[in-house]
């Protein structure tokens, strides 16, 4: 089977764009990715579109209504926060299967402000604050506290994740925020759900990202100079675990995806030069160091203490600023992460460039649960 290559990839600067529509945001990113590939919408054989907020409203087709109704097949998909990665993977699969040679994947989201999460819903009375909490900051706080009970991870160690990622974002002009947040600032920010303070929660923003994926034959035809090879594309759902239906298990779903991705790519975590992982909350990033095999179980606290995951460290994580500071437009996140890693592999990440990056990994989690992992490789 043919390898699959990213020929064009880009994202809009994340922010709040209430004057724009979801298709307009998606169309902007799509045109940027097409320009990056040196191709036109007429060259695309299919469109894979990821969006959550308007999942039943044909966002992919409405993007084509903005930039060119060429009559190609469109797949609209939703998979919680793994939506963008799922759209990218569906695009990848169609090329890998030999059905298409050139396809477009777009992830886009327009977000409101405030807390995400269910209130229990259904009939009767509201369950939030009665049967615990279904808010996202609390759910991921509970996941972090599970790590604390196992390994003694501290509030300060969780907070250091935010200090690092906010620092990284000062080097990324496409991040929502570019503001340094010292440890005291993070720890003294409004407590949302202990141990997650406001600065340890991802930012709700509008955003869009897009990628053009091509077959090896097409990549050779277009030139390999800036091509990025997709070495692994994996999607998992949560395997059964004892507490999973009460306490979403973001660990097993990630571990399963990571081991499959390493096997598909023929590499191990020691070969990876940078990682964009799903830091929807600061607590989550700590868990995923271990889930992705970046360190041994129980070492994640030490890893953040010693700066191993900061830019310049042993394995830089979320040099884009992560969801915590770059922002987290749900459906766009999975492709924005791919843009970030691809940009480093192309050597085009400017001030935040991870030197000599050859292999990079992206990881997203959709609660409920889905995990999408991609391993990308520098070609030229």
């Amino acid at each position: 089977m043919s390898d699959v290559y990213i020929m064009g990839v880009d994202m809009i600067k994340f922010g709040r764009f209430p004057e724009k529509t979801v298709p307009q945001l998606g169309a902007t990113a799509a045109l940027m990715a097409l320009d990056d590939a040196g191709l036109k919408i007429q060259d695309m054989q299919a469109l894979y579109c990821g969006n959550l907020g308007q999942a039943s409203a044909m966002v992919g087709q409405r993007i084509l209504q903005e930039i060119g109704q060429t009559g190609i097949g469109v797949v609209n998909c939703a998979n919680a926060c793994a939506t963008g990665a799922t759209a990218f993977r569906e695009a990848w699969m169609s090329v890998k299967a030999g059905v298409n040679d050139v396809v477009l994947a777009v992830g886009v989201e327009q977000m409101g402000k405030g807390l995400l999460g269910g209130s229990g819903g259904g009939t009767g009375i509201p369950k939030e604050g009665l049967l615990g909490s279904g808010t996202m900051p609390a759910v991921f706080a509970e996941a972090g506290m599970e790590h604390a009970r196992q390994y003694g991870t501290t509030f300060e160690q969780f907070a250091k994740v935010s200090v690092k990622n906010h620092h990284h974002s000062t080097l990324n002009p496409k991040a929502m925020y570019q503001i340094e947040t010292p440890l005291e600032t993070v720890m003294n920010a409004e407590m949302i759900s202990y141990p997650n303070t406001k600065l340890m929660c991802s930012v709700n923003v509008d955003g869009a990202a897009a990628a053009v994926l091509v077959s090896e034959k097409k990549a050779r035809e277009l030139g390999m100079d800036r091509a990025v090879r997709v070495k692994a594309s994996v999607l998992t759902s949560d395997p059964y675990s004892d507490r999973d239906l009460v306490m979403p298990n973001v660990n097993d779903v990630t571990r399963r995806a990571a081991s499959q991705a390493y096997e598909m790519a023929g590499c191990g975590p020691e070969d990876i030069d940078l990682v964009e992982l799903h830091d929807c909350f600061a607590t989550a990033e700590i868990l995923h160091y271990e889930n992705l095999g970046l360190c041994k179980d129980g070492e994640a606290g030490r890893m953040i203490d010693e700066g191993e995951t900061a830019l310049g460290g042993r394995i830089p994580v979320n040099v884009s600023g992560g969801l915590l500071s770059k922002g987290h437009p749900l459906g766009a996140t999975g492709i924005a992460n791919i843009y970030e890693v691809a940009t480093h592999l192309r050597g085009e990440a400017d001030k935040r460039q991870v030197g000599g990056a050859k292999l990079g990994m992206t990881h997203v989690i959709g609660l409920g649960s889905a995990c999408g992992i991609h391993i990308l490789e520098k070609v030229a």
């Binding site: 009375i125 604050g129 049967l131 604390a148 759900s193 239906l245 009460v246």
Partner: protein, 159 residues
């Protein structure tokens, strides 16, 4: 061709039942809280006869081992241990904070999420694996749009 009265019958019975419930006492906050309005409320799990996995709420099949039609109801223990928690300081509008959202493993199987009460919402006071008990009380005064009150379950430090 007869007139299908079934939807009307359901409607009428539904009306009668909800009036009855309002008259006889509180409704259960979740359908797996049994014995609401009696002096013996309890939480009910459904246990898989093949692999022993315990679920909350009725179901036909087991998502742990895939066994079909092997589920049977089981009365869950009122004793358990605190597995994990978060102290919630900001929630949706109108929800009183702070409160402790707790994940509790019950003795003999079953994991339940709920509010941990009668303890300071302070991480220094809350210990992992601390013994807790399940208690039943009014659902913080919350009523549905028909004015029904509800009985809920809570966790508190074991006596």
């Amino acid at each position: 061709m007869g007139f299908n009265l079934e939807p009307f019958a359901t409607y009428l019975i539904g009306e009668i039942m909800s009036e009855e419930a309002a008259a006889t006492g509180p409704l259960p906050v979740v359908d797996w809280l049994k014995g609401a309005g009696t002096d013996d409320p309890y939480l009910e799990g459904h246990k898989c006869g093949e692999c022993g996995a315990v679920f909350l709420g009725e179901r036909d099949n087991c998502s742990s081992c895939g066994a079909r039609d092997k589920m049977s109801p089981t009365r869950l223990s009122t004793k358990g241990k605190l597995y994990s928690y978060s102290i919630v300081h900001r929630s949706f509008p109108g929800i009183e904070v702070p409160y402790i959202s707790a994940i509790v493993d019950l003795e003999g199987g079953g994991t339940v999420k709920g509010n941990l009460i009668n303890i300071d919402p302070d991480p220094a006071k809350i210990e992992f694996d601390m013994p807790v008990e399940v208690v039943f009380d009014d659902a913080l005064g919350r009523k549905d749009r028909d004015g029904n009150s509800y009985i809920s379950y809570f966790f508190q430090p074991a006596a």
